[in-house]
């Protein structure tokens, strides 16, 4: 073989004074970075294989390991960065499309960090959520134009189906196949305990998980994997996935090696076959076609389940969202360009789509102007990192948020961006039985419960600070937001004032 230009990305630094040759790192690294040399009784490392997942660092009993950025430098050049050079080396060697995982990592503005929240002072009192009632419960679904009551005050209007969430947070769509069974189970159990929902993703739903149905959103994507009547009826709501924030306009590809017995049965495809989701739904080429699919799904489930439609945040998101509402969707899900994924072409991940903050503000504004905002709930996704992002999203007009990356980080993800290799050392994005075992659902579902409970507490505190006692009262309340370090145009799209105004 000819010379490879590959250079390591990370350097594994072992403190020989602290290393006891216990070989925990050797046994735990599925990338075979560490190896034991019996002759010299030392543990050796092969830096080039390291993806910096921190598994060895976290498990090393003597803290003998540190992973650093590989110190080899190219001559400084702001245009030809080391990354740009390495990508060319890689493509000229393989002839392939570059693949990446997780969301857009580039230095585009993060608008959440340029928006500030309000608090009550003197003229209206703030509320202490530890002493006074504070409501974070929300209902997702179509709301009627008006409500009719009889003389006794009994509701006469027939309510469309609603999904009740104890807090405006749901776990994003991550399919069984892209993530492990144990990760899937952790999400399902946590959602059930929290009174929120998790999403099956497009990989169907294993029958063992039907018991979590009340907290499950079942997804119908372009591949239609594992979609049948029982599946559609198993969840509390159905989501049609048109696009995904990490790779708008692109389909999906689950490599055949990840399709074992169990995944094959769930997806209804042969063992070992590649699961390819086409870029479009082959039966949707217009809003009218989307309407047909929405109503076929509603018909199948006797109009008992709300139907969500998920799109990636793209340039005309507001107009598209308006069309989706008119097509009969009960909720729109918008996924921003920082949304995570198991695998996406690097160029698409890094260059396609728009920030979720701008898409959300534009969509909410458009639906309000058209007088159809009540007809659908608005759910946003695409890198919601903490509770203040959620509060800002709600104030910009969202009903709820989906968290995917944050949820997998709670499960142990160390953001090494190599989900696509299937060698996830934390047992999340893998189907290797030996690795899947590493994620113990009994431990991990509690971490998810802790995370969402903590966020819920923080949301209540921030709401209380603003003198608001229900999250419903914050929705679309942009007066609670002020921008900082933003230009006129950005403020206009976001529909907020500048700090001090």
């Amino acid at each position: 073989m000819s010379l490879s230009f590959d250079i390591p990305v990370f350097e594994v630094v072992r403190n020989e004074k602290r290393c006891i040759q216990c070989q925990v790192c050797v046994r735990q690294c599925f990338n075979s970075v560490h190896s034991y040399d019996e002759d010299d009784n030392v543990v050796c490392t092969d830096d080039i294989k390291c993806v910096n997942c921190h598994r060895c660092v976290t498990l090393c009993p003597t803290r003998a390991l540190i992973i650093k950025k590989y110190p080899l430098e190219f001559r400084e050049n702001t245009n030809w960065t080391s990354n740009a050079i390495k990508e060319i080396y890689k493509q000229s060697q393989t002839g392939g499309v570059l693949l990446s995982s997780m969301g857009n990592p580039k230095a585009f503005p993060i608008y959440w960090d340029k928006i500030l929240l309000n608090a009550s002072q003197v003229t209206n009192p703030s509320i202490d959520p530890l002493r006074e009632p504070m409501e974070t419960k929300i209902m997702i679904g179509r709301k009627p134009e008006k409500l009719d009551f009889d003389v006794k005050g009994k509701l006469l209007t027939e309510m469309p189906p609603q999904v009740e969430l104890s807090t405006p947070i749901m776990f994003s769509a991550m399919s069984y196949g892209s993530i492990s069974r144990n990760a899937h189970e952790s999400l399902a159990r946590a959602a059930t305990e929290l009174g929120i929902c998790y999403n099956t993703g497009e990989g169907g739903l294993n029958r063992d998980f039907y018991k979590y149905g009340k907290n499950t959103i079942v997804q119908v994507a372009s591949g239609r994997f594992g979609v049948h009547k029982e599946y559609l009826s198993a969840g509390i709501a159905i989501e049609i996935k048109i696009g995904q924030g990490a790779k708008p306009g692109i389909g999906g590809h689950l490599p055949g090696k990840k399709v074992g017995e169990d995944v094959s049965a769930t997806r209804m495809i042969p063992v070992g076959s590649d699961a390819i989701s086409p870029a479009p739904h082959h039966d949707i080429y217009s809003i009218e076609d989307l309407r047909q699919l929405i109503f076929s799904l509603k018909e199948t489930t006797s109009y008992k389940k709300p139907v969500f439609v998920k799109i990636a945040a793209v340039h005309n998101a507001a107009a598209i969202a308006s069309g989706i509402v008119r097509a009969g969707a009960d909720a729109i899900v918008v996924d921003g360009f920082r949304g995570g994924t198991g695998a996406a072409p690097t160029r698409v991940r890094d260059n396609v789509g728009i920030p979720i903050e701008l898409a959300l503000a534009a969509i909410d504004q458009r639906l309000v102007e058209e007088g159809i905002r009540n007809q659908a709930s608005l759910i946003v996704a695409g890198s919601i990192r903490n509770s203040s992002d959620i509060v800002k999203a709600v104030a910009l007009g969202a009903d709820a948020v989906y968290v995917g990356s944050a949820a997998v980080i709670a499960l142990g993800c160390h953001m090494c961006h190599t989900c696509s290799t299937g060698k996830c050392n934390w047992g999340i994005a893998t189907q290797e039985p030996e690795l899947v075992k590493r994620l113990n659902p009994d431990i991990m579902y509690k971490r998810l419960v802790n995370l969402v409970s903590a966020w819920n507490h923080e949301i209540q505190e921030m709401l209380g600070g603003m003198g608001i006692n229900a999250i419903e009262s914050l929705r679309g309340n942009r007066l609670m937001l002020r921008g900082i370090d933003l230009n006129e145009k950005e403020l206009k799209v976001l529909g907020i004032k500048y700090a001090g105004e």
């Binding site: 216990c22 925990v24 046994r27 498990l59 009993p61 039985p433 075992k437 590493r438 113990n440």
Partner: protein, 155 residues
């Protein structure tokens, strides 16, 4: 009586239980010193189950603290004894290193020390509160349970 149980379905074979067992039974209570300066061996042992030269499962072996322990019967110096709680101990002061206990243990749970002058076996880390293998297992695969709790855990 509570004993240490390991669950194969959860065990990762990482070997941290062995590291902490050695530390617990060393005169040094520091992991690095216990390994570099002391030659105690771990009383808990992970056996790999191989398929096509790749470990596919792990089996963790440690003293079962038998009701009627053969090691106690076989001991020629009276070093092996069962205390009132039912824990089988090895009295290092009395142990002459004849290794009779090693040869009679039906589970192979008693290991001879590196210098072959004594043996190493699980004493449930009495004095530590919780056995260190249980406390440091990263996947909750090793648990200290009584007989009833084990039945529940196995369901």
């Amino acid at each position: 009586m509570k004993k240490v149980y390991a669950f194969e379905t959860k065990c990762l074979g990482c070997g941290l239980c062995e590291v902490y067992c050695r530390t617990a039974h060393s005169k040094f209570k520091d992991v690095v010193k216990a390994h570099n300066r002391d030659n105690v061996i771990s009383a808990i042992v992970i056996e790999n189950i191989f398929r096509q030269s790749k470990p596919i499962s792990y089996f963790v072996l440690q003293c079962r603290h038998c009701l009627s322990p053969r090691c106690v019967k076989a001991c020629i110096s009276g070093a092996m004894h069962k205390d009132e709680q039912g824990i089988v101990h090895n009295d290092k002061k009395r142990c002459v290193g004849c290794l009779s206990c090693v040869s009679v243990c039906p589970f192979g749970a008693i290991k001879k020390s590196r210098d072959c002058k004594t043996i190493s076996k699980c004493d449930l880390c009495v004095g530590y509160g919780e056995p260190l293998c249980v406390k440091n297992c990263p996947n909750d695969a090793i648990k200290l349970l009584d007989e009833n709790e084990v039945e529940v855990a196995l369901k």
